[in-house]
């Protein structure tokens, strides 16, 4: 009997010690100012450079150190992680509807679009084509994709933000040029019939196209396309279609988290920094489209001007687009029929 009790007491003590240790570590961590930025996959290199520029500027101005940690993943799964308790101070996701998912969980203010310039996006991007060297199949525009014998590589819109943007871009390329919804539906149906592999995520598609040599054209983010060309050492090249979608990856601080961490001011300064000329230059360098006209003009060579239509061209807003195209039984599902 006695032994049992002793064991129990020891266990409690042990438990107490462990909890105490964690608590202490947590409290100690909260004293130095740290920001956690939850972002999507392709932005690793971009944020690394912006963070370096920002922390040195911050130190010069405020006199204190600020460290910024990054968390990368699929845009949708990052949003879920924050909803489920990832302590991100700021979210810099790919698609505004992912940010809105955090709003729905009550962690982020509904009016986040009005808190930073340009609806919260400090840069834009789009979907472009990557083709084999010398463009042997002569792919120049969206209608070329559905010519017989062309194989298209694009990730699954159900599991990838990149895939969704490609689907919306394809749809809008028809309706923006006077085609009807029925025309657009026929076009995307044919397009996905010519997709031999639906990778789950964007980088998987890149591997399929470049490493495995499958497909004639790869639909991808503009910045990923530039990376792909650099890494493929000249075996592929970018083709800019005359028209594509305007993606507006938004920045926002997560109210519930910054309040708890006491980092609201720092988070705001951090995100405002992304709009400064210095950061805008870094953005252009990594092949995202800066919103500052001067920085954009300077990089016209690598970011040529094409017609970019907003999401409202294919749906009422980003949330509606997601529901309308990739919701259960909606446009994307109707493309595939039971075999």
């Amino acid at each position: 009997m006695r032994r049992k009790k002793e064991v129990r007491i020891t266990l409690f003590k042990l438990l107490g010690a462990v909890v105490g240790a964690f608590g202490f570590a947590y409290a100690a961590g909260a004293e130095t100012q740290t920001l956690l930025n939850a972002s999507y996959d392709p932005t690793r290199e971009l944020w690394k450079e912006i963070n370096a520029a920002f922390t040195s500027a911050y130190k010069a101005q405020a006199g204190t150190d600020l460290s910024i940690k990054m968390s990368h993943g699929g845009s949708g799964s990052q949003a879920r992680a924050v909803v489920d308790g990832l302590e991100a101070d700021v979210v810099t996701l790919a698609i505004p509807s992912d940010t809105d998912a955090i709003v729905k969980a009550g962690l982020l203010d509904k009016g986040w679009r009005d808190r930073l310039p340009n609806g919260g996006s400090a840069y834009t991007s789009t979907i472009v084509f990557v083709v084999r060297k010398g463009n042997p199949k002569g792919i120049k525009d969206w209608p070329d994709l559905v010519k017989p014998g062309i194989e298209i590589i694009t990730p699954n819109p159900k599991t990838s933000g990149n895939g969704q943007l490609s689907l919306w871009a394809a749809w809008g390329s028809v309706t923006q040029r006077g085609g009807s919804e029925a025309d657009a539906s026929r076009f995307v149906t044919q397009l996905y019939k010519q997709v031999p592999v639906l990778d789950a995520a964007a980088r998987g598609s890149t591997t399929t196209f470049v490493q495995k040599g499958i497909g004639d054209v790869h639909l991808t983010w503009e910045n990923e396309a530039h990376l792909e060309v650099e890494e493929a050492e000249g075996s592929v090249e970018i083709v800019y279609p005359p028209i594509s979608i305007l993606a507006t990856p938004p920045l926002a601080w997560v109210d519930a988290n910054v309040k708890r961490h006491g980092t609201e001011a720092a988070a705001k300064t951090y995100l405002e920094f992304v709009y400064t000329p210095r950061a805008q230059e870094i953005i252009a360098k990594h092949h995202y489209r800066p919103i500052e006209p001067a920085a954009l003009a300077k990089s016209q060579a690598s970011l040529p001007k094409i017609e970019l239509f907003p999401i409202t061209a294919v749906a009422t807003d980003w949330n509606d687009a997601k529901d309308r195209f990739t919701g259960e039984g909606k446009i994307f599902d109707s493309i595939y029929e039971p075999q």
Partner: protein, 274 residues
């Protein structure tokens, strides 16, 4: 104070407590949460998420491919276990260690390697694809990679049993006039059958849950090469947590009933032959 009925491990109460705590924390609580999440759906929502045509096609592929993979591993695994126990050859220990490699290798890596080997321009694919063997982005690819990830189970469950086999029994069988086939089916097989079935069940269950490698080799085409775990991810991506949980519960029920059936089979085999 001496315990009257001595056990090798002291403290039955404590060890049982830990067992229960562990089972709860690791297995039961997560599964309960899953079930609760799924149960928040109305019946019509649940059946829409779980029983739509596309999902059913995915379950069929998942179960079918896992079954085939486990079956292949049953045969090949037995053969390899036999070779590793009964023969001596240079490099045997290395081969023995290699068996566990599929456990250690991140499965996404396996998926990437397999798909790049078997695509049209891959090392193996350039010979196999012209012969009509599509080892990447097909159902065959799914089976192939599932064979890989579930490979060690049969070998590792059967190996110790073969090691314990009494060679005298085989000699006795031979002396009594049994030919090789008879010795195998009447003497060896009955002894190792329960272990074989266990290995098969483990391999099967492992294959059903596999996601990482399959998404890289299957091509994820709805109705053709889309496995059920991909549906879970696509539901999550649409922020449909409950629907994702519902599909997960359906998968769980399917694999659990398969495991129970295999367990019953194993007991039956044990009773019949021992």
């Amino acid at each position: 104070m001496l315990d009257i009925n001595r056990r090798i491990l002291p403290g039955f109460g404590l060890s049982l407590g830990y067992t229960l705590l562990y089972m709860n924390l690791l297995v039961l609580i997560p599964i309960a949460v899953l079930a609760i999440k799924a149960s928040q759906l109305s019946w019509s929502e649940f059946s829409a998420a779980v029983f739509n045509e596309r999902a059913i096609a995915a379950y069929q592929l998942t179960m079918g491919a896992s079954f085939l993979a486990a079956l292949v591993n049953l045969v090949i695994g037995l053969l390899i276990a036999w070779v590793l126990v009964r023969y001596r050859f240079p490099g045997k220990q290395i081969f023995d260690a290699l068996v566990d490699l599929p456990f250690a290798l991140p499965t996404a890596v396996a998926g990437l390697v397999y798909s790049s080997l078997y695509v049209k321009k891959g090392w193996l694919g350039q010979f196999l694809v012209p012969l009509g063997f599509q080892g990447a982005y097909s159902r065959t690819a799914v089976v192939l990679v599932l064979i890989f990830v579930s490979f060690p189970f049969v070998v590792r469950t059967v190996q110790p049993v073969i090691e314990d086999l009494d060679a005298d029994m085989e000699e006795a069988a031979a002396c009594l006039g049994a030919n090789r086939l008879q010795t195998f089916t009447r003497v060896i097989l009955p002894t190792i059958t329960p272990a074989l079935i266990t290995g098969f069940a483990l391999a099967f269950a492992r294959a059903i849950g596999e996601y990482g490698s399959v998404v890289f080799v299957s091509g994820n085409m709805p109705y053709k090469t889309e496995i059920a775990p991909v549906l879970v991810v696509s539901n999550l991506e649409a922020f449909q947590y409950k629907q994702a949980a519902a599909v997960a519960v359906a998968l769980l029920v399917l694999s659990f009933s398969a495991l129970v059936a295999i367990n019953v089979l194993e007991r039956w085999a044990r009773r019949k032959h021992v």
